[in-house]
């Protein structure tokens, strides 16, 4: 761990245009920074770390950005890089993007995820608590801690278990919303509906779940799907748009079958 060295020759010289915004109320703007000698082996976030060290040395405010695990699973990080949520690589969260993807002399624009439902809190940091609100309305199986039946008492066909797992691999980063021209959260919600709806454990609440989650989604100001599929292209876990189709089917069936008033679920 100690004694590592930079085995790059010279490194990349970059021009960065980074969105700076003091807080939710302030007006934002791009600021331009020159960075020199960035190793192609470092990650995009480590490049931002070096920018921040440089700013700090110069007595200027570092750029605030969200990040945590830096291995593509916590879903904290996420910025728009040259117009693409999480940058140019498919199936790659910002933290996993490496600078070897860029060239010496490149200009890079870095912006926050933009959506009405994701207000900017500072610089590249946005508030994604709308996702939690949607989950709190129905994104669960109503089972208390206790003594449920033996785990093998409820066989699940492998195909369904695998499809549920595909959907459950969503990391809740919000890139789908940022990439969508309508700022729709339907890939996120669709993934949750699929994960729980494909399993027998989630079946009893299927209809109430989809109605409650969609209602909250609308209330938080997310848009609707326009079948452009930018969400799937930006998703670091390649969640399929088939989940949106499933969401729509479930919603139509539930709307036709349920009473109009959505009961509070989870009790």
């Amino acid at each position: 761990m100690s004694g590592g060295h930079d085995h790059h020759s010279g490194g990349l010289n970059l021009t960065l245009h980074v969105w700076r915004q003091k807080d939710a109320q302030a007006e934002g703007r791009f600021e331009t920074y020159a960075l020199q000698g960035i190793s192609e082996h470092c990650s995009f976030l480590e490049m931002l770390d070096q920018l921040n060290e440089q700013l700090l040395r110069e007595g200027r405010d570092p750029v605030a950005f969200d990040h945590d695990c830096r291995e593509g699973i916590c879903g904290s990080c996420g910025v728009v890089i040259n117009g693409q949520a999480h940058g140019p690589d498919r199936e790659t969260a910002t933290c996993q993007l490496h600078m070897r993807r860029f060239h010496d002399g490149d200009t890079i624009y870095v912006e926050p995820f933009r959506a009405k439902a994701f207000p900017i809190q500072r610089d590249l940091v946005v508030d994604r608590s709308a996702f939690d609100r949607i989950v709190s309305k129905g994104g669960f199986v109503s089972v208390n801690t206790g003594a449920p039946q033996d785990a093998n008492g409820l066989p699940v066909p492998k195909e369904n278990a695998d499809l549920a797992m595909d959907a459950a691999s969503c990391i809740g980063c919000g890139a789908c919303v940022a990439a969508c021209p309508n700022a729709a959260a339907m890939l996120f919600v669709g993934a949750k509906i699929s994960h729980l709806g494909l399993l027998p454990q989630g079946a009893p609440e299927r209809r109430r779940r989809v109605l409650a989650m969609v209602e909250q989604m609308d209330r938080d100001g997310f848009g609707n799907c326009g079948n452009i599929y930018e969400c799937e292209a930006a998703c670091p876990k390649s969640i399929s748009v088939e989940n949106i189709a499933r969401l729509n089917r479930e919603y139509i069936v539930a709307s036709a079958c349920e009473r109009p008033a959505v009961e509070r679920i989870g009790d």
Binding site: M1, S2, G3, G4, H7, H8, D23, S39, H41, C42, S43, L45, E46, D49, N52, E53, L56, P62, A64, D68, C69, R70, E71, I73, C74, G75, S76, T92, Q96, H98, R100, Q121, R122, S129, D132, S136, F140, V141, V143, N144, T145, A147, P148, Q149, A151, N152, P155, V156, P157, A161, A164, M165, A168, S169, I171, H195, Q201, R264, G266, D267
Partner: protein, 648 residues
């Protein structure tokens, strides 16, 4: 330092029940007080942290009827670092019919921890492991299944039975999402008040009982107080004291360290797990290390060149010039020896000058033979996502070039001392998951951390918290209490002090130096002389920190540098206690390897006559300097006989 030990300390009453091991938890639960359902809403429980332990505890307590408040450092509870666990979760279900049992899981865990854990705790952990799997499946956790629709198991980390449940390479995320769903359900029902982007900065103790915390709201910087009848710290481990570790960047010791300074004893602080299969450091810009799941050791073969300084590329090194050192040294376990052993041996190879790669700070993990035997598609099916992750980070293709791996700090077995009820030495302060000194002794086995976090949250605390709530008089305390005002003032003063230093070095920069000192002197191989050197470096760095730190901006705004500075300040203090503990423990056990104490074959040599105890440290101050009193909780082994671990 001269240490006066308080043996069988009156402060350390384990409250372990007696009687037959398999009946103790049941007996204890029967003996515990209860809070009747109608009274539960009168009690307010504060949970700090939303990883597996915190989310499962908060959800379960709210379901029971307690009023629960949850603080979460992230923007969403789903992001806690439990999410990054890849491999799996152990349980004694014995679905594969390969001879597993609660007793065997208990035995393996006690032995794996090198006989430095409490037997009764470990037995309870093994007992509730099966209920955890049932609970998670009921929540919709999509564990791997076979074509009959039943749950699949694999063997993991040196276990000789297949008892590990998994969800592709993201078991941690799936278990956390299960607990997060349960938590958000209670939030939706109004039973849990959730406060995201809050960082606990101190504990408030009123009349000797933990009654709340002071926290900072991270987007605007407001200092807030939260009062409760019980406080649960579920804030994870402190591996980031090494700066580089597999922990997430937010993972920090501040919550437990502040509680320690308010009177909670710290158990076995030097017990650190260094994971053998991580991607090596590539440069000075490195911000964290990435783990490669230990499952890779099922098919990969670990080797280095036989001769020092052999710089040929791996495909140019013939079979005769390779040293498959784990297979050579441990013929029966081979590449699957426990983590501490695999890590230490890798370090030895590098120290001998036989390391590989550009930095010569790595060993090979080679899939050539597995690919020849099973074919690339089979290997892709098993490890595809891990190979892809490796290639993304290193730009090397492991299907053709052996992986380079090196050990990295991964988990801390030490933590706040707790009794059988998970209560610390401060009444009303409970500590769950990695934050407590826990059930893993001196070394944690693979796939046991998830098990412990969920055991504590789903099944232990819901039963044991009543011992405090129903067993003590708890006068009403609100945040208007003078003690809250006092602590708020102290927190504000500390923040102002950090902002006022106006030096030249960033918190990360100083933290990196602390990490290097810890890695060098308190890492995989520890010696008395080295630890003394480490202590001197830590103290010098701490002085420099308080003179030369640079934090810009103000307290009343989103200020990441200020957040980091506070955490690093606490790491600088914790580091000293880790070194003292490592120096005090004159034996080798599990992940704690003192070079002076080893067998002729280089294995850890325990000293059961003198060190078969938990070392729990009490913080004091003397003329402004930190001092610690040592308390000992003796460990007795009634069921698993004390023997030298052997994986030969």
């Amino acid at each position: 330092m001269s240490t006066t030990a308080i043996q069988g300390s009156p402060k350390l009453v384990s409250k372990c029940p007696s009687g037959p091991m398999s009946e103790r938890w049941d007996k204890h639960r029967f003996d515990l007080k209860l809070v009747n359902p109608a009274n539960r809403r009168k009690y307010h429980v504060l949970v700090v942290g939303t990883g597996l332990a915190g989310a499962s505890a908060a959800a379960s307590l709210a379901e029971m009827g307690y009023r629960v408040t949850v603080l979460c450092i992230h923007d969403s509870p789903r992001r806690a670092h439990s999410i990054a666990a890849q491999g799996g979760i152990n349980a004694a279900k014995n679905y594969p019919n390969d001879g597993d049992s609660i007793r065997r899981l208990f035995y393996d865990t006690v032995k794996g921890g090198d006989y430095r854990a409490r037997e009764a705790n470990v037995y309870r952990l093994a007992q509730v492991s099966n209920s955890i799997i049932d609970q998670c499946v009921a929540q919709g956790v999509p564990f791997a299944r076979d074509y009959g629709g039943l749950l699949d198991n694999r063997s993991f980390g040196g276990a000789q039975v297949a008892r590990t449940f998994y969800a592709r390479g993201q078991t941690g995320q799936q278990l956390l999402i299960g607990a997060y769903h349960a938590l958000m359900r209670q939030v939706g029902l109004g039973k849990v008040a959730l406060f995201p982007r809050r960082e606990m900065l101190d504990l408030v103790v009123v009349d000797g009982v933990a009654r709340g915390v002071v926290a900072r709201e991270l987007t605007g910087g407001a200092i807030e107080s939260y009062a409760a009848d019980a406080v649960l710290l579920c804030t994870g481990g402190y591996g980031n004291v090494f700066f580089l570790s597999t922990n997430a960047k937010f993972s920090n010791a501040t919550a437990i360290w502040r509680a320690h300074k308010r009177g909670a004893l710290f158990g076995n602080p030097c017990f650190t797990q260094i994971h053998p299969t991580c991607i090596p450091v590539s440069g000075s810009y490195q911000s964290k290390l990435t783990l490669m799941s230990e499952s890779l050791r099922n098919d990969g073969r670990v080797w280095v060149p036989k001769s020092k300084g052999d710089r040929r590329s791996p495909d140019q090194i013939p079979e005769a010039d390779r040293d498959y050192y784990l297979e050579r040294l441990y013929p029966s376990f081979g590449n699957l020896v426990p983590r501490d052993i695999a890590s230490r041996r890798a370090k030895e190879m590098v120290d001998e000058g036989r390391g590989v790669g550009e930095t010569a700070m790595a060993v090979y993990l080679d899939f050539r033979d597995a690919i020849q035997r099973d074919g690339a598609p089979k290997i892709r099916e098993k490890y595809g996502n891990l190979f892809q992750m490796y290639e993304r980070i290193t730009a090397d293709d492991p299907y053709h070039v052996p992986m380079r791996i090196y050990p990295a700090v991964h988990y801390t077995m030490g933590g706040l001392w707790v009794d059988y009820n998970l209560e610390s030495t401060i009444p009303g302060l409970f500590v769950l998951g990695e934050a407590n000194f826990s059930d893993h002794g001196a070394n944690r086995l693979g796939a046991s951390a998830l098990m412990q976090g969920l055991a504590d949250g789903y099944f232990v605390i819901p039963a044991t918290i009543a011992s405090h709530l129903a067993g003590r008089k708890l006068p009403k305390v609100t945040t208007d209490h003078a003690q809250f005002k006092q602590v708020e003032g102290e927190v504000q003063a500390r923040l102002r002090r950090l902002l006022a230093i106006d030096g030249r070095r960033s918190a990360d920069d100083l933290h990196r130096d602390l990490g290097l000192a810890m890695w060098e002197h308190c890492g995989m191989g520890r010696s008395d002389a080295g630890l003394s050197k480490g202590l001197a470096k830590i103290r010098a760095l701490r002085s420099e920190f308080w003179e030369n730190l640079r934090v810009l901006g103000q307290g009343e705004e989103l200020n990441r540098e200020l957040e980091k500075a506070g955490r690093v300040a606490d790491f600088m203090e914790l580091a000293e206690l880790m070194v003292l503990d490592a120096q005090y423990r004159k034996e080798s056990c599990g992940g704690h390897f003192r070079v002076e104490y080893q067998t002729e074959e280089g294995e850890a040599l325990r000293d059961d006559a003198n060190f078969c105890h938990v070392a729990a440290w009490e913080h004091t101050e003397e003329g402004g300097a930190m001092r610690w009193n040592l308390h000992q909780e003796p460990l007795s082994f009634e069921e698993v006989k004390l023997t030298q671990r052997s994986y030969k």
